[in-house]
């Protein structure tokens, strides 16, 4: 009975919000856009019920700025969007990275570039999550691949954003966002939730950007006795602008390295049949679902296929991938993506010629078919594909 | 003024375009139109006064009224 109660049959977008609420998110500012709209709509419904704050802003830029404002007031804050809106949020995303504000940003990927095909799934904003804003900035991006995982990974996104004092992006595609599965919502306390670290020192000693034990200082909420300054300019430990090149260097390096140097803490991966795999599929999000299906089928047929599925795409899980390659039995790595080879390039960097890397790219809004992966594993060349008889004729919404 | 010869009208409804919203019927001053299934149709052509209100308010380019 009670187990049944905790089971909910939800859309991915809904599970994301359940996860956010579980993690203590009490502030949402957004602007609707297909296919992320349900994220916002469910927040509009839910937040008032728990006394949280919801606001629809005038645009995506205003949304992320308001969310950051909410975060600086001390709330766990969130904003969500899709491609075009994500492009608009880039400048402010960089500000949050620079000022080290915890924040969770959801991007439900749709087909691009531009307005593209709004209801069609795609995985083509992966590189943008890392490089969309000017300058080198830290990037944590989670790529959950099921409704249940979306729930857990959204919680993890909030935890990571608090731990590293940095925005975290939850990135998934329209298929994951709109598919429905039964998921279990754990009781409060069952899943770890990190709370905002607040300073305990006397206000006059508070240095909001000082490093203590390798971690950036706790972030005091505005209005609670610590009157500090926050700026997107390069700043010293006290938060005030500086022109000192040593500080600029230190801050620039520290921001990126706090993420890059903690890959092993931040990255989580699912591994399947890797022990003796000769062909490994490296796949995330919707494409990993096809991959898993394919790999299992192949194993059933005696083929030594394996799957490495990152749940975290940034920082790029180079250590995990390197381990697989270094083990020596892998002859080929296959990277199926609903884009033109964004993560394929990252895999190439890590592999550095040690084995073959083959990409399967698809941009016709149809998920990669398990058969495409199977045939690649079996050694066939797979061109970027469209399956023309699968023509969608629905009206493209949101364009 | 007085008894002018009653003008006659021809109503063309494009079934391919009509979405059955019933705006035309609702605002037709003479109740000349009625919905059939999901397509608008003429209930009684003789009542039509050619006011064109149906055309003017049809969002779908689906109905036009011509002098016969």
């Amino acid at each position: 009975m009670s187990t049944e109660k905790k089971k909910k049959f939800l859309q991915g977008n809904e599970a994301c919000i359940e996860g956010a609420l579980y993690a203590g998110c009490r502030f949402y500012a957004g602007y609707p856009i297909t296919p992320s709209t349900e994220v916002m709509e469910l927040m509009a419904l839910s937040l008032p019920k728990v006394g949280g704050k919801f606001i629809q802003m005038e645009d995506e830029i205003g949304s992320i700025c308001a969310a950051i404002g909410g975060a600086l007031a001390g709330e766990k804050a969130m904003t969500g969007t899709s491609g075009p809106g994500f492009s608009l949020k880039q400048e402010a995303l960089g500000w949050a990275c620079m000022t080290e504000v915890p924040l969770v940003i959801v991007n439900v990927m749709r087909s691009g570039p531009s307005t593209g095909y709004p209801t069609g799934p795609s995985q083509s904003d992966v590189m943008q999550t890392k490089w969309g804003s000017h300058g080198d900035k830290p990037t944590i991006t989670l790529v959950p691949a099921s409704v249940q995982e979306l729930f857990y990974e959204t919680i993890r996104a909030f935890n990571l954003s608090e731990k590293y004092r940095t925005p975290v992006i939850v990135l998934f595609d329209e298929v994951i966002g709109h598919m429905r599965e039964a998921i279990t919502i754990p009781e409060p306390g069952e899943v770890e939730v990190l709370e905002r670290r607040k300073p305990t020192c006397p206000p006059e000693d508070y240095r909001p950007y000082a490093i203590q034990n390798g971690e950036v200082a706790p972030l005091a909420p505005f209005g609670e006795g610590y009157r500090f300054h926050v700026t997107g300019l390069y700043h010293a430990e006290d938060g005030f602008p500086t022109a000192n090149q040593q500080y600029i260097h230190d801050t620039g390096m520290r921001l990126v390295n706090k993420v890059e140097h903690n890959q092993d803490d931040i990255c989580e991966n699912e591994e399947l049949f890797l022990d003796d795999a000769e062909v490994v599929v490296f796949a995330y999000g919707v494409s990993s679902k096809s991959a898993k299906f394919a790999v299992k089928e192949l194993r059933a047929g005696g083929v030594k296929a394996g799957l490495l599925r990152p749940k975290t795409i940034w920082p790029f899980p180079s250590n995990a991938l390197d381990k697989v390659v270094a083990a020596g039995n892998v002859k080929k790595i296959i990277v199926p993506e609903m884009n033109l080879g964004q993560i394929y390039g990252e895999v190439q960097k890590v592999v550095a010629g040690r084995c073959e890397v083959q990409g399967i790219f698809r941009v016709d809004t149809e998920p990669i078919h398990p058969k495409q992966i199977m045939s690649a594993v079996l050694g066939h060349q797979v061109e970027p594909t469209v399956i023309p008889d699968e023509v969608l004729i629905e009206r493209p919404m949101d364009g | 003024m007085g008894e002018a010869a009653k003008k006659e009208w021809r109503i063309e409804i494009d079934a391919r375009l009509c979405k059955g919203c019933e705006i035309c019927a609702h605002f037709c001053p003479t109740k000349t139109l009625e919905i059939k299934g999901i397509t608008m149709s003429v209930r009684d052509l003789s009542t039509c006064i050619g006011c064109q209100l149906c055309d003017i308010r049809c969002p779908d380019f689906a109905i036009q009224v011509f002098p016969k």
Binding site: K7, F9, R180, A182, K371 | K19
Partner: protein, 184 residues
Amino acid sequence: MSSRYELRFSGSGGQGMILAGIIMAEAASIFGGKEAAQSQSYGPESRGGASKSEVIISDEPVDYPKATSIDAMLAMTQESCSKYYKDVKKDGILLIDSTEVKDIPEGPFKLYSYPIIDTARNELGKVITANIISLGMITELTGIVTHEAIEKAVLSRVPPAFLELNKKALQVGFERASELKAAG
């Protein structure tokens, strides 16, 4: 993979195909103790167009949520039937609305044909119940979920005022399908 069971509900926007898929998936997963994943191609047009909703039911968590080789499919319109029937597997089930689908597809599947929409209109007085009738029929034809599970799932999704109507629609579905099965 063996336990994987694939269903596709297809028709046109407004016929409740997406809801049918959701209810079937809930019947399997929430009330049936199995795993299920439902997905769809959406973007409703006001009229026409083919829309589909797919449900994968399995004993294990569902890896891939889209149909690869379909065990049972419903087609409520000609357009959706012609467009989607090809994925039905050998010995799979294809249920079509006999009034709507005139160009009957051929293939190595079991074809069932029934005037579902007419039945909804004439026997239940509401066209809108066609999707619930078809849920009953698919349940009966496939046996992939129990009558009980599908009934619970349907009832948990409909407003109280329509409980009886939907119960009845489901029942009609069960019956007609079992007659069809019996007929061959």
